[in-house]
């Protein structure tokens, strides 16, 4: 549990060192390159100590390539769609970036549609770009338009927790009623249930387990779920 503040030196050393989010190598006053943390959080590293990163929470998404995000279509510009992914800039999605799309056979998106897409290009000087198919197989693999359902926002750490297959929340809820969810790493979760009160229950549970909103553990959540009448 080694917590650091930004600007503190992190002792990361390895022959094939890879620095993840929150770490940066810059040259110090002495002239030697040092590795400092650029955000507050816990220093974590992989088992063989070649990958290091800072684990912290935030609410604002900064796009990075190969991340799955949930976007809302805001406008159409020619053949492309402008999609809001919660970052500083709108992302651009090519109208043909879907499985099996040709000029004559395009998906019928509207302004306000929800999409589950993958960030294919994220550079600080350019607008981020999205694609709705898997990079290697060129098949949908779950990407594409999300029809119906309800969108909930949460903190970025919560999304990462929900994407972990060992997390308790969705299996616990799924044992009570059937539900369909999509988790975007940009702080958005799409929920689709048969009844509105189930959707509301899922939304409230996500808020309760979110580290920002109190960070309930499994026992407390079970009690909370008991009060929700689902």
């Amino acid at each position: 549990m080694s917590l650091v503040l930004p600007g503190e030196h992190v002792p990361a050393q390895h022959v094939n060192l890879k620095l993840g989010p929150g770490l940066l190598q810059i040259s110090a006053a002495s002239g030697e390159p040092t590795i400092i943390a650029t955000r507050a959080g816990e220093v974590k590293h992989s088992a063989n100590r070649n990958k290091w990163w800072i684990e912290g929470n935030s609410r604002r998404y900064v796009p990075a390539p190969q991340e799955s995000v949930i976007g809302v279509v805001v406008a159409r510009s020619g053949e492309n769609w402008r999609v809001d992914i919660g970052a500083a800039h709108m992302a651009s999605l090519d109208g043909l970036a879907f499985e099996g799309a040709t000029k004559r056979n395009r998906p019928n998106l509207k302004v306000g549609s929800l999409l589950y897409a993958r960030v294919s290009l994220a550079h600080k000087d350019m607008e981020p770009e999205l694609e709705c198919f898997d990079a290697q197989t060129r098949k949908a693999e779950g990407f594409g338009e999300l029809k119906g359902g309800f969108l909930v926002t949460c903190s970025l750490k919560m999304c990462r927790m929900l994407l972990d297959p060992k997390h308790f929340l969705f299996p616990l809820l799924g044992s009570r009623f059937p539900l369909e969810t999509a988790v975007g790493i940009n702080g958005r979760v799409w929920i689709n249930c048969k009844e509105p009160r189930q959707t509301i229950a899922v939304a409230r549970c996500i808020e309760a387990v979110d580290p920002d909103g109190g960070g309930m553990d499994e026992l407390a959540l079970k009690k909370f779920l008991g009060t929700l009448d689902v």
């Binding site: 600007g7 940066l24 500083a88």
Partner: protein, 274 residues
Amino acid sequence: MRDLSVVYEGLDRVDGSARFGFGSTKSLCSVSGPIEVRPTLENPSQATLDVQIRPLAAIAGTDSKALATTLKSVFTSSLFLSHHPRTLVQIVGQALCGTESGSGLGSAGRGWNASLTASLVNASTAAFLSAGSVPMKGVVCAVAVGRLQPDPSSSATLIMDPEEAELPRLDGSGCFAFTFSAVLPASPLSCHDVPPCALTWTNYTTAGPFDIQEVKRATEFAKKGAQEVWLKLKESVRWLEKSAASPLPSKADVKKDDEETMGEMEVDDEKVEI
């Protein structure tokens, strides 16, 4: 130095927020970024930093706007703004207590004394820590130093973090802001837990004349206070997420202050939202 308090507010609609206090001198600050920027403010090589400061009472006047410009330059050097070009990082700072002395205009709640300015800088730093989305080169910690010189022949006494009641008796005061970062050169006297720091900004002003030696003395004196602020911020990272579970200050008189200012704070919540 008075009891330091850091509370991570968890305000809605902003990316990070925090309240910092030296005893009962408190400020609240919120940070949002990197967010969309108006084309007129867009900078193609780095993020635009926009600082807005509001006093406890009345609208932001000249002194608040001057303080905003100062804070902009203080924080520009401690953030990696070039990592997010064509975006906006917005800081909104709000004083949570007025000064009884005012800013010489005879009205309470409108001045920015040294302790309040220091608490504002520290609240902004804490808000950046809570936001986590803007990369930081170092942590800016500020502390106020007061000066007492009963007669011109004796040397001036420096006081760390003067209280509101002591302010009218001081001959001078100033806020000293230091940036703590591992990339700065280490001095042999710095303690090992804390990274090296460098003075980023000060507004040390005195009624009578002072020389460079006194400023150096005041800077070294203030450095110790800033190190304590840094240690407090480091400790507060532990409760960064559970905003509801952060420990309340233990001293009874600070608790009383909290209750007294509760009424005022509820009014301020509306002012604080961007």
